[in-house]
Symmetry: C2
Subunit: 150 residues, 2 copies
Amino acid sequence: MERKDVRHSEIHFPEGIKWTRQRKAVYEVLWEEKEPLTPVKLYNLVEQRTADGEYALSTIYRILSAFEEKGLVEKDASMEDGTLLYSLRRGNHTHYAVCLECHKRIALANCPFAHLSLEQETEDFTITNHKLELYGYCKECRDSGRLRRP
Amino acid sequence: MERKDVRHSEIHFPEGIKWTRQRKAVYEVLWEEKEPLTPVKLYNLVEQRTADGEYALSTIYRILSAFEEKGLVEKDASMEDGTLLYSLRRGNHTHYAVCLECHKRIALANCPFAHLSLEQETEDFTITNHKLELYGYCKECRDSGRLRRP
DNA sequence: GATGCAAATGCAATTCATTCGCATCTGAGA
DNA sequence: TCTCAGATGCGAATGAATTGCATTTGCATC
């Protein structure tokens, strides 16, 4: 069983939550991955990198809910097809460009709304947050010349 | 919320597609509704407004896929929870402000990226489309004073 | 208006993601 | 070390979406 080297000292497990073996494993995988993950992908990654026991998929779901409640992760859905994606809250605020061909998600360097204040008050609506996704084709798919909708 | 009277003569059923009773009913409901709808809500609305027979939910799904393929409807998912939403393609390009309390979706008057050309070419990525959602609280929920995350 | 057939529908069964109930286990405070 | 609220594993239940197949139906052609 291949086991990636992890420097645990780098990871700081936030307080105020019970850190079980399973929760640590999930947190570590999220810490290492830069892309948002579906619960099932996360489950596979956790299974694959740990030798110390089996995990139940339902536990992964419960852990993600708990993390979300504590504000440790951000849950959002791809606007493309609605699949749920989880990523660690790292303080920064990221948008993605999604390739319509290979479904790769590329993080944008910065948010086009960064200059707006976080809380925007208008007559009818108080904006607290926003989500943006760009769609198109990544360099590789564009150059491969085999696009589904050219 | 005003309920518009529909003159069927206003509706133009695009050509190049077989217009069955069921497809017309779905198209009409989509035509009348300003908000994007889930397949199930659409199913209920169609059942409710037609006296001429029963509909199968699977048919609604197949009709929506067919409409999407023909470019008649736009399918997207709420970034909030991933529920699939369908709306008629009316040529314009709409974003929504979503109330985190009552889940109402309010159409924005215009797109903040309207000044950008539709196809944006960059080094690594060719942008063909984008989706934006604003989150926060609508006037009614804000004033009701009973917000879940105040 | 009648006919033929490819395509659309209804129905039931199936798949897949997500949630839930409950018995057992365990992290972390006393 | 002991204790127990809360976390987990497992399997069953839910719910959305898809699929296979027998039947029906627009609509192009006569």
